[in-house]
């Protein structure tokens, strides 16, 4: 890795660190407690950015999957796979923090509305993506199949959302989150989104580079064994 890249990664690390510390301070100290929901509402400042980043991660997987099938360079595949892995972690966090927030506020752990259902289906699709990659008989095939799943799976997401949304609007709405964000809350949310996006980019760059180096090592080993 050349010096410019190392510098860029370190700058990103520093920025991410600053943002995350600022986010923690703002969520737990700065922002006022929400009137109706109380202290538990602070999960919102983590839950929403994590959800946004998970969608971003899967979109990146979609984009890099197309790039990989087009250009056939392993680095695109490494980025696609790394992004999907991070996306699954973040989606899992969304599915965990959501019910933790919902139970005290709504009284229920779960409901089958559009956003929750889409998150769950998203999680299932990308777990399948990882399984396909793991179960493939060789890495090149795994990369190819993974790219196909990454593309096909992402296209499903708006369809699932629209369908479940339509399904649910036919039922009386049991839960309505009436948002109205005051300035401090909005600022906190924005800082948190920035912090988690920085975290995502850091994780993506390092994870993808690890995969690329891993592939290089394997390649070198196989070359050595041939001699």
């Amino acid at each position: 890795m050349d010096n410019k890249r190392i510098l860029r990664n370190n700058v990103l690390l520093g920025l991410g660190l600053v943002l995350m510390v600022a986010a923690l301070y703002m969520v737990f100290v700065y922002v006022p407690t929400e009137k109706n929901m109380g202290v538990v509402q602070r999960i919102f400042y983590f839950h929403v950015p994590i959800a946004w980043v998970s969608l971003l991660a899967f979109f990146i997987t979609f984009t890099f999957s197309i790039l990989y099938l087009w250009k056939r360079e392993m680095k695109w595949d490494s980025f696609a796979c790394a992004s999907a892995e991070i996306g699954i972690v973040f989606t899992t966090l969304v599915l965990i923090t959501g019910p933790i927030w919902a139970k005290p506020v709504w009284g229920i752990w779960w409901t089958w509305d559009a956003r929750l259902s889409t998150s769950l289906v998203l999680w299932l699709i990308y777990v399948a993506y990882l399984l396909v990659r793991s179960f493939a008989t060789d890495p090149a095939r795994g990369a190819r199949y993974g790219a196909v799943i990454g593309i096909v799976g992402f296209i499903d997401v708006p369809l699932v959302f629209l369908t479940v949304n339509l399904w649910r609007t036919q039922h009386p709405a049991t839960i309505i989150f009436e948002g109205g964000l005051t300035a401090p809350m909005l600022l906190t949310l924005v800082v948190c989104i920035a912090a988690f996006t920085a975290l995502y980019m850091l994780l993506l760059i390092h994870s993808a580079n690890l995969k690329i180096m891993d592939a290089d090592v394997k390649h070198l080993k196989s070359m050595l064994q041939e001699e």
């Binding site: 399984l131 008989t137 196909v148 369809l159 699932v160 629209l162």
Partner: protein, 224 residues
């Protein structure tokens, strides 16, 4: 352009002939789907006043899981005796293979639905002549077949083949299942067209999108 349809038909007819002679696919999926109807009836203890709520869902679960069982076979038969390599040697565009197999799997699934649905309607004491239900089943089956054929080609080349097809297939077709169940319920209750139009539109949109995407992406799945 003529050549493309002839080739697609050739692949389709090969599958039809094999199926007519061996009857592997249709019978096994048929028995499985009927068994599912029976098990669900016992599991949910369906009484007359509960039919409206549950019946639509029961039919579509039976068809969906029957489909999952069936789509495993679509490319699995090609894996035996290196028939897939034979298909690949044909000087045809890859999407021709996809459409040939798609036509076959669609026909088989439709054949299964044609038998399972009347049995379902009889078991649940519902009206038998329902052309709108036929339309819903055709549209939904196109969606199932489009996705199932593509993922069947993916699944045969990886380990844990049967499980992987289900794991891949079921999350993707959630929109079709939701739309089909929601469209079928008013049909079974005799409600007007307007209730099912939106759901039909969703299914048709899904079908078109996935037929196009699968056609574009299939060549990457079968290349060596």
């Amino acid at each position: 352009m003529n050549g493309v349809f002839t080739r697609i038909f050739a692949i389709f007819w090969k599958d039809m002939l094999t199926e007519i002679r061996t009857r592997e696919f249709v019978f096994s999926v048929l028995i499985f789907a009927i068994l599912e109807l029976v098990i669900f009836s016992f599991a949910f203890s369906i009484r007359a006043n509960m039919v409206d709520m549950a019946a639509s869902g029961i039919l579509w679960v039976a068809l969906t899981f029957g489909g999952v069982i069936g789509f495993n076979r679509i490319f699995a038969v090609e894996k035996e005796n290196a028939r897939l390599e034979g298909l690949m040697l044909c000087p045809v565009d890859r999407f021709v293979i996809y459409w040939g197999k798609l036509a076959g799997s669609f026909t088989f699934m439709l054949a299964v639905s044609v038998v399972v649905t009347p049995i379902f309607l009889i078991l649940f004491n519902l009206p038998i002549f329902l052309p709108r239900l036929a339309l819903i089943i055709v549209v939904a089956t196109i969606g199932f077949a489009a996705v199932g054929t593509l993922f069947s080609a993916v699944a045969i080349n990886i380990r844990a083949r049967d499980i992987m097809l289900s794991v891949l297939f079921l999350p993707i077709i959630v929109p079709v299942i939701v739309a089909a169940v929601k469209a079928t319920a008013p049909v079974l209750a005799g409600k007007p067209w307007v209730d099912i139009l939106t759901w039909l539109q969703i299914m048709i949109a899904f079908d078109i999108i996935y037929l196009v995407v699968a056609t574009l992406v299939f060549e990457f799945v079968v290349e060596e």
